[in-house]
Symmetry: C2
Subunit: 193 residues, 2 copies
Amino acid sequence: MQERRTNRERSEGTTATLISTARRLFVERGYADTGTPDLVMAAGVTRGALYHHFADKRALFRAVVVVESRVIAEAVERAAPGGDDPVADLIAGGEAYLDAMAEPGRSRLLLVEAPAVLGTAEAAAIDAEHAGRTLREGIEAALAAGAIRPLPPAALVTLLGATYDRAALAIAEGAPRSDCTAVLAAMLDGLRT
Amino acid sequence: MQERRTNRERSEGTTATLISTARRLFVERGYADTGTPDLVMAAGVTRGALYHHFADKRALFRAVVVVESRVIAEAVERAAPGGDDPVADLIAGGEAYLDAMAEPGRSRLLLVEAPAVLGTAEAAAIDAEHAGRTLREGIEAALAAGAIRPLPPAALVTLLGATYDRAALAIAEGAPRSDCTAVLAAMLDGLRT
DNA sequence: GAACAGACATACAGTCTGTATGTAAGCTGA
DNA sequence: TCAGCTTACATACAGACTGTATGTCTGTTC
């Protein structure tokens, strides 16, 4: 019953197991309260494997954040592929974002722990390649179409993104989603031409 | 030259020294990278003193967060004591908030580390007693005066607060303040009746 | 198939946190 | 005023964790 595997398969399998296990534990207990001994035990490997594939615990956490960010961005893009009404796309993308962020623990991982562990700069850079990118594209499209007021795009992306982020966190902590979306809609109104 | 001090004076002096030293080090290096040995060395006391006055490292951090929050809230209240134009007060308070948050490291401490270390619930509770309270009062006044649309107050406070928070962080990281305030003003416009 | 590289497993060193114990100084009632 | 008590520390210790160094075994390559 010895399963014979190529080296590449071994590596990919081990890293995938580590990342998925880390994702679960970091979500359940948080980064600081998840020790690498526990983590590798749950993954069925040893700390040697972890430190062979990742520079340190932080690098593993970063990998988890990248995977989660990618999942979010894909969900948003699926919901708002970019039609002829940019503001409607923004709203649809926002709803999809809140849906994707409803996955338990995800908002804490991406919005609370990631900036603290990786630093705001690195966390923002990861976001800018994924969910943040979809928001930026949506805003640029709306600006180009003249649908929203000519404001600095970078600040628009940052502040509108922050609003959606905190809405996701609030909903995860039990706030009524309809209340949040009502306020979000009003704020978006203010950006309209 | 033995200075004779009452026990109460000793305690107050030691805790004050610990808190101010911790504030400096947590701001400079962050919570996780500030060890208690370093901290007490810088404060000129021993770890025994620290653990005599605080339950654990987290409790000391919490004390720092409370002090900083209080400073912010006082600055905001000084700038917006509550006049007859609630929206103008909101804007003035927001400016004061951004000013107060410009103190280097403060935004990271309060907006990034506090939620990660204390948890979002406890960080939000502390905020709700200080800066968050001033915002809530401002919004309630504006709602009562009919100056802004009748939206759920809790969601308004949360999401508008989030926008100001992220603006403070962005400014601390070099974003042009005028860009941020322009977008903030537009979003506030959306809330107006 | 021999040399090499990759993928781990194990052992170790350093550091940190929280606790338990010891001590000196303030406080308090008779 | 002083014996007894309490507060405010200082010191010593135990447990845990992170990152590194070293050893081994399997796949790969020439």
